[in-house]
Amino acid sequence: MATKLSPKEYIKRPDHLTGGHRLCAGCGAGIVLRQVLMGAKDNPVVISNATGCLEVSTTIYPYTAWKDSFIHSAFENAAATISGVEAAYKSLLRQGKVQSDKPYKFLSVGGDGGSYDIGLQALSGALERGHDIVVLCYDNGAYMNTGFQRSAATPFGAWTTTSPDGKVRPGKTQQRKNLTRIAVAHGIPYVAQASPHNFRDLISKAEVAFDTPGPAFLNVLSPCPRGWRSADPDGMKLAKMMVQSCFWPLYEVVDGRYTINYDPKDRKIPIRDWMEQQGRFKHLFKPQFAYMIDEAQAYVDSEWDRLKSMTTLPGGGEA
C-alpha cells in the first residue's frame, strides 16, 4: 500500500517531462504524467504511449518532451508494445547485454480511448501475461485528441461530439464502463485510482505501482478544459470536487484487498456541483433533461456503496 511522503521529499526526484510540449494550457495529462513519473524515482523508464493528446503533443518531430526512452507505434497497442520492450529487457538482461545501474521501469500510457475502448484488448493481454509493467490510463472522459468523441469512460449524460445533446437526445445514455474493476478482475497485484489534485496520494501510488513486481494498473482522472468546456485554471479544483462527490473514488486494491484512501463522509458533495462548472453538462440543467442528473447521482451513489462493501470482505472483493 502507498505511503505518502512530503512534497519536499518528492521534489528531490527527477522531473521526467520537459516544458516545450504542445499540450493545451491547463491540460491534466501533463500534470498526471509528471506526477506519475516521480513515482519511478531515478530509475530509467521506457514509456509506451498510445496515439492521443499526450503522445501527439509531446513528440512533434523533431522535438520530444520525454527525458526517458519513449515509443509510440499505434493507438490500440500501447500495452502490447511495452510487453515487447519488457520481454526484450528480460532477455537481454539475462544475457548481460543491458548496461544499467538501476533497473528499468516500463510504463504503458493511454488515454481513456487507448485504454477503455480500442486499447482494451492489448491492456487485458498485458495484464494477464504478468509482465513487470505499470499500465496507466489518463482518463479525461472522451477521445479528446480527435475532437471530443465519446468513449466508454464518458460520464452519463455528457455532451460529446458523437453523443451530443439535441432535440431528442440528452447526451451520453450509457453509464461509464468501470475499467478499474476490469483490471482488478485480472488478479494483478496492484490496482489504484488517483487524481492529480492529491499529488501525494498519486505519486505514492505510482511509486507502489513501479516497485510492485508484475503488472500494476493506475486509473487517473485527467481534467480537460477543452473537452469538459471548463475554464483553464479550474482543472485541479474540478478534480477535487469530482473526488469529493465519490464520482472518482481514490482507492487501492492490493492483491485483491480493497482500501478506500479518501471517504468524504459528511462532506460528500452532489455531482451537480461540479457538473455546473463544466459546459459539457450544460444541457442537463434544462428541465426536460433534469432526470439525467438524478439518474447519474443514483448511479454514483450505488457504485460508492458497492465500493465501500468491497472493503469489508475478508479476502478483499472481486470487482
Binding site: T64, S100, A122
Partner: protein, 399 residues
C-alpha cells in the same frame, strides 16, 4: 568449404523453419497461432519449454499485438522473430507498415493462406501480396529447404546498415507448411556464424542515451522524406540480398538468385511463378521439351525489392510468357505478380506477348495438365497467335 551436414531429414516446412529459429536463437519471439503457421510456433514453444533456446516467448493475445510486441522488442535492441498467415497478417496490417517505417529488422514467417471470405484455410498468396506496399523485404520459398535457408539468411539482410528493414519469408500453406519434405540443415555453428553478431544500433534500453521512437510528423514536417528514405533502403537491399545469397552458397553449396531460372537460356515460351507451383511446372517442362517446345520457367524468390533488371533480362528473348498469380487484385489489369512483371518489362523496353493466369485461390489444386495447357497456349502465341487479354483461370469449376 561447405560445412553442410550430410544428414537428410524428413520434416514439414513449419518444422524446418522452427529448426532454423532454434539455431538462430533470437532474443524475443512474440506470436499468435493461426492455421497453417501454427506448428512453427508450437514447435518453438517446445524448445522454450525444454530450455534449448534463450528466447523470451510472449504468448500475445492477437496478431496485432504480436507485431506490436515485436516492434517494442526490436526497438529495445532485441533480435525478434514471429510468424503468421492470412487473417492474422491482415489483422496486423496497420503495424506491419509501422514496423517498416520504424526501420526495425523484425523477421516474420508468413505461411501463405487465403484471406477470408469465405473463410478458407488453404494456400494462396493473397495474404502476403496484400503487404507488398508495406516496406517489408519479401522472399518467397518453394519448399522446406528454401524456407529453412531463407530463415537462416534473414538477419544479415535485415540488419545490414544500409538496409535496416523488416523481412518476411513466405512458403505455401499446407502444401509446404504441413507436408513432409527433404531438409539438409546446417550445423548450429554454421548458422550462428552466418547470422553473425547483431550490429549495435539505437535502442530504447541505453540509460545514457534515451530516444523517442515513433514521433508525430505532420503537415509541415518530413513524412515524405522518411518515406523516400524507406524506398532507398529497399533499393540498396537488392544487391545486398544477392550478396547474402552468394555468401550462403559458400557455406551450404546452395546458390540462390532473385530469380531462379530453369531452362531459360534458349526458351521461346516461359512461365513466371511463385512458390510450390514451380515444382509442378518443372516436371511439365521435360515433357514439352521432348515435344520440341522450348519451355522455360522463372521462379521468383525476391519479390520486394522487385528484381526489375533481372526479370527484363530473363524474358528479353522470350516470345510469349504466362505470369501465374496465386492471388488477384480485383478490378486491376491482372493479379499482382502480373502487374509487377509487366511494369518491369515495360520499364526496360522488353516487348513480349503476355498473359495472366490466375490459379490456386483458396487452395484449388494446380495439375500438371493445367500447366501443360498454359505452355501450349504460349507455344501457339509464339507461332504468331494471340494471347487472351483478360485473366485465364486455371482449373476453375463450371464454365
Amino acid at each position: 568449404m561447405s560445412t553442410t551436414t550430410e544428414k537428410l531429414l524428413a520434416v514439414t516446412g513449419n518444422q524446418a523453419v522452427a529448426m532454423a529459429m532454434k539455431q538462430l536463437d533470437p532474443d524475443v519471439v512474440a506470436a499468435y497461432p493461426i492455421t497453417p503457421q501454427t506448428d512453427v510456433v508450437q514447435t518453438f514453444s517446445q524448445y522454450v519449454a525444454d530450455g534449448v533456446v534463450k528466447a523470451e516467448f510472449v504468448t500475445v493475445e492477437s496478431e496485432h499485438s504480436a507485431m506490436s510486441a515485436c516492434i517494442g522488442s526490436a526497438a529495445a535492441g532485441a533480435r525478434t522473430m514471429t510468424a503468421t498467415s492470412s487473417a492474422g497478417f491482415a489483422l496486423m496490417w496497420e503495424v506491419v507498415y509501422v514496423a517498416a517505417s520504424l526501420r526495425l529488422p523484425i523477421i516474420m514467417t508468413t505461411v501463405n493462406r487465403a484471406l477470408s471470405g469465405p473463410i478458407n484455410i488453404h494456400c494462396d498468396h493473397s495474404d502476403s501480396m496484400g503487404g507488398r506496399d508495406s516496406g517489408w523485404i519479401q522472399i518467397y520459398n518453394e519448399d522446406a529447404q528454401e524456407a529453412y535457408d531463407a530463415t537462416v539468411m534473414s538477419f544479415p539482410i535485415a540488419e545490414h546498415a544500409d538496409v535496416r528493414l523488416p523481412l518476411m519469408n513466405m512458403y505455401d500453406g499446407f502444401i509446404i507448411s504441413g507436408a513432409i519434405g527433404p531438409l539438409r540443415p546446417l550445423s548450429d555453428e554454421t548458422v550462428k556464424a552466418f547470422a553473425g553478431e547483431q550490429p549495435v544500433v539505437r535502442t530504447l534500453l541505453k540509460p545514457e542515451e534515451p530516444i523517442t521512437v515513433g514521433p508525430f510528423d505532420g503537415l509541415h514536417g518530413w513524412y515524405f522524406e522518411h518515406k523516400i528514405a524507406q524506398n532507398r533502403a529497399m533499393e540498396a537491399a537488392l544487391p545486398i540480398i544477392q550478396d547474402t545469397y552468394d555468401r550462403f552458397a559458400e557455406v551450404s553449396g546452395r546458390q540462390y538468385h532473385h530469380l531462379m531460372q530453369y531452362d531459360m537460356e534458349d526458351a521461346d515460351v516461359a512461365i513466371v511463378v511463385i512458390g510450390s507451383a514451380a515444382g509442378t511446372a518443372r516436371t511439365v517442362i521435360k515433357t514439352l521439351r521432348d515435344e520440341g517446345i522450348k519451355a522455360g520457367l522463372i521462379k521468383i524468390r525476391t519479390f520486394r525489392p522487385f528484381p526489375t533488371e533481372e526479370m527484363a533480362r530473363a524474358l528479353s528473348g522470350v516470345k510469349a510468357v504466362a505470369v501465374l498469380d496465386r492471388a488477384d487484385s480485383f478490378g486491376a489489369q491482372g493479379g499482382p505478380l502480373y502487374l509487377e512483371v509487366l511494369a518491369a518489362l515495360y520499364q526496360k523496353g522488353v516487348h513480349t506477348k503476355t498473359v495472366n493466369c490466375i490459379y490456386g485461390l483458396g487452395g484449388r489444386d494446380l495439375y500438371p495438365r493445367n500447366i501443360e495447357d498454359v505452355y501450349r497456349m504460349l507455344a501457339d502465341a509464339a507461332d504468331g497467335g494471340d494471347l487472351p487479354h483478360s485473366r485465364v483461370y486455371l482449373n476453375m469449376k463450371g464454365e
